[in-house]
Structure formats: C-alpha cells, structure tokens
C-alpha cells in the first residue's frame, strides 16, 4: 500500500446559494482543489462524488458523471458515493484506497449538497429518510428527535447539563465568525440563549431537551480534495504534504432501540480505534479535531468516544474550555457543522479540507492551532449507525 497525500483542497462558502445548482457548487469547489494542487499536465484518473440527496431534492442522479463532464475530466472514472451524512468521508476513504492500492494515481474527491431550495419541512423529511422505513420513519421521528432522545439519556446517565451543551454552541459559533466559509457568522452569548428571560424566544426547544442553538443549520455547499501518492506529491506540490495516516469505519444497528446501551456510540469508538491503530498513535497525539457536531450533544459524545475524555466528562471539558483553541484538544476550530453548516454530502470532505489547512499551518491567528501535526475527523452517518474517522498528518 502506498502512502496517500492530499495535494489540493478547495471549498466554497456554505450557506444559502440560490444562484448555484448542485453541480455548479461541486465544480467550483473542485476547481479550487485542482488550482491548489498545481497539477500541471497530470490527468485526474478518477472522481468520487459524495452526495446524499440529489435524487430526492434535485431529482438528479448520477452526479459524478455530471461533474466529470462539467469539469471536462473525461475519460476519468467517476463514482457517486451515497452514505447518508457520512457520504463525504466515505468518498475520501474510497479515494484513498484507490490511490493506496496503486490502481489510480490522481483522484479527485468532491462532496456537495443543495438543501435550501426546498422548505425546512421537506429538508427535515429528506434527512429523516435515513431512519428505519418501517419502525421509525412513519412515526414522524427526525434526526433532531433522535438526538433529543439521545441527549436526555445522556443527561440521565452522566449528569450532562444544558449549560455544557450551550458552551459547545457558543464556542463553535464564536470561532465561526472568523471562518469565511461558515454559513453562520453570528456570535451568541450564554445570556442570550440560556439565562435571560428572552432566551425562551431566542432559543426555543426543537426536540426536547435540545434547543435551536444546539442544532446545525440546513446548508448548501461543497468541498473537494485531490489525492495522489506521497512520492508524487513531494515532486508536484508547493505545499507541505498532508498524508492520510489512518482511517476507520464501523457500523451499528439501524435503530437506536436495538443497542444494548443507546448512549454507547460503538461505531464512533471502533472507527477511531481503527484509525489510531493504522496511524500508530493515540488520542493524546491529536492536535486538532473536526467532530460531527450536527447537534451539540454529538460533539460532546464523540469527544468521549474517540478517547479525548472519559465517558461523561466531555460536557465538563467543553464547559471548562478544554476544547477551545488554546485548550488541550481544540475541537471544531472551523466552527464545525454548527457554524460552517451541514450540507450533508459535503461535510466529511469539508472536515478534511479544514484539517488540511490546519496541518499546512495556513490559517490566520484565531483559528490556527500552532504547530499542529496530527488532526482527526469524525463523520457521523445515520444516528451513529455508519461512522468514519480519518487521521491526517503533516508530512515531515
């Protein structure tokens, strides 16, 4: 197996992009990655496109075929990867395997989603199609609803509080104001969303006990990375190469109710463990992490399940500022899904783009983790039934 490097990255600002089609967004992000790589006359051998909802929301399928045509990358191989909200990291993983195996040399991975052209009512229903079609979906359960049930169980078992979740929301939206790619660039305060009488109106319950500011926005957006063998990257790129040091993926039961302990996100633990084993490091070696905070509870729970904190300690750590920039393990210095946004197919790729910028030491003060060598991502599919973790390393 060959070492695989990220030779180029690109992202377009997330948010509401009424003027752009899904393929427009994928193409713009891909061109940025191609330009960043300075590929010269090297051909792109294969393209993997992460997208969850093209068939439902845009009535468009075969998105990868459309993208290679739009970019005139013919006759590159092209595959669309649909793995729910974990589509992005799944596509990256498939790209890494293709390069590592020696079959392809240059692989473009792009992830994108266009969710704002339908009503919130429809977008919520679209995401809920990943629940079990017979024993969950008919009841009107939503992903916020799944997260709400999970949060209450976590509160009952570990004493997690709203104040702890609020600390995550404030942290991520504060740093999001510094991210030009973020959908939400509005700072929030504890008084405004938790303590003042107005907080009931400012921050209503969406899925008890979760409130509006516990949830990510519904976003349009796209991100892309270009992969090649490390040895080729050293010759081609002006950047310090960033390598995929490890990856892992695991699944769990489709329904939360069939898990022996529904607060135990086994797939997160297993995916991270696989990635750590492959990279030959442990959680203590990670300098910066992008965790899948579609809801504040998920950042807390994932920070525990990947091994940064003991079970039940993640909320306390967030409240104590241990996960802020400058803390012992900065989490979601991009603003995370909470502020950057969550165009579902784009998210796993965007996490890799943000970690690559961190490991190249290219971000401005206020966002850059000084001296970062290792970064970790968690891309959380379903409600924890299909999870990927990637570990990236700044190549010496």
């Amino acid at each position: 197996m060959r070492d695989v490097a990220i030779i180029g990255v690109g992202m377009i600002p997330f948010g509401r992009r009424d003027q752009d089609s899904l393929v427009d967004m994928l193409a713009y992000a891909s061109l940025k990655a191609l330009d960043d790589a300075q590929l010269g006359d090297k051909a792109v051998d294969a393209v993997y496109v992460a997208n969850m909802g093209g068939g439902i929301l845009q009535h468009q399928t075969a998105i990868a075929s459309a993208l290679v045509d739009r970019l005139s990358l013919l006759p590159a191989a092209a595959d669309t990867v649909e793995n729910g909200p974990a589509s992005g990291a799944s596509a990256v993983k498939n790209g890494v395997l293709a390069v590592a195996s020696g079959y392809y040399d240059v692989v473009l991975v792009a992830g994108g989603e266009k969710m704002r052209e339908v009503s919130g009512w429809r977008a919520t229903d679209f995401v809920a199609t990943l629940t079990h079609p017979e024993v969950e979906y008919p009841y009107g359960i939503t992903l916020p609803g799944m997260a709400g049930m999970f949060t209450r169980l976590y509160m009952e078992k570990y004493g997690l509080t709203r104040e702890m979740l609020t600390a995550v929301a404030i942290k991520n939206q504060t740093v999001g104001t510094l991210n030009p790619y973020a959908h939400v660039t509005m700072a929030i305060t504890k008084e405004g969303i938790l303590e003042s009488p107005h907080s009931v109106v400012n921050n209503p319950i969406i899925a008890d006990p979760l409130h509006l500011y516990d949830a990510c926005p519904i976003s349009d957006g796209a991100a892309a990375v270009l992969l090649c063998p490390l040895e080729m990257a050293k010759k081609l790129t002006k950047h310090t190469p960033v390598v995929i040091a490890g990856f892992g993926q695991a699944t769990d039961t489709h329904t939360l109710q069939e898990r022996e302990d529904p607060t135990d996100l086994k797939a997160v633990t297993l995916a991270a463990q696989q990635a750590f084993t492959m990279a030959g490091i442990g959680p203590e070696d990670i300098d910066v992490a992008e965790l899948h905070d579609a809801f504040t509870i998920l950042e807390v729970a994932e920070s525990e399940h990947v091994g940064f904190f003991k079970k039940g300690e993640g909320g306390k750590a967030a409240l104590a500022g241990r996960t802020k920039l400058g803390g012992e393990i900065p989490i979601n210095v991009s603003g995370g899904l909470k502020a950057r946004g969550h165009p579902v197919g784009a998210t796993g790729v965007a996490q890799v783009v943000d970690i690559t910028w961190q490991l190249r030491h290219e971000l401005p003060e206020g966002r850059q983790v000084l001296g970062a060598t290792y970064g970790l991502t968690v891309n959380f599919g379903g409600f924890g039934n299909n999870v990927l973790s990637l570990i990236l390393k700044r190549s010496a």
């Binding site: 009841y139 939503t142 049930m149 999970f150 209503p204 109710q257």
Partner: protein
C-alpha cells in the same frame, strides 16, 4: 381497538429479541427465530417532543418515545400526551394500534402509547 401489528423475533439459539427483523441474530448469527407479539404494557425507555416536524405532519408537535414490552420487544411509537410535564423515563405505557399519520389521504397505522399515572 385493533391488535398491535408488530412482530418481534426471538433467536432460538441465544434468546435475543429483535425488532425490527434481522435475517441473522445480532448476537450469535443464528437464523431461526420464534415470532413474538407484544405482551402487556410497555415501559418508557427514551422520549422527546419534536416541534420541527417533517413533511407529512400538520400537528404542532409530536411526542415520540421508545417503549419496552414485557417480553423484551423494544419499539418506537407516538406518545399520547399534551406535554412532557408528566412523562418520565421508566413509566408504564398502555399500547394501542392507531393511525400515526396520513399519506395520500389514507391513514398509516402504527404504535401509540398512553402514559399511565
């Protein structure tokens, strides 16, 4: 009230109860199952009240929970309550089989739980 049309599956090899159906047991990979119907009342394991509903629902909110029946079947259902004020994890629930939504003008039947004081 019509019968509750849920079938659980108890692995004949190890006894694990499954709902929904799996072709192989989650614990031992066994393929022989004894069909089970829900037995008696249920105990509330988890719940939430959702205010941002998906397409297809006109209600102002839904209260949804997971109940565990006396024979081990765990199933999601809608909870018949006006608020969460009297809802508690571990409380007893009386199940029923009623319309839980409408699609294309037709009722879709499913599990509902009435909280018992």
């Amino acid at each position: 009230m019509s019968e509750i049309k849920i079938t659980g599956y108890k692995c004949k090899a190890c006894g694990r109860v499954h709902y929904p159906k799996h072709e192989q047991c989650l614990t031992c990979k066994g393929r022989d199952f004894e069909p089970l119907t829900p037995d008696g009342n249920a105990r509330l394991l988890a719940y939430t009240q959702i205010f941002n509903l998906p397409w297809g629902f006109d209600e102002r909110f839904l209260i949804i929970g997971v109940g565990e029946f006396e024979n081990g079947i765990k199933a999601m259902g809608q909870i018949k309550a006006d608020s969460l004020d009297k809802i508690k994890t571990g409380m007893e629930l009386k199940p029923s089989w009623e319309p839980v939504r409408h699609q294309y003008g037709e009722p879709v039947y499913g599990l509902k739980f009435k909280p018992l004081e």
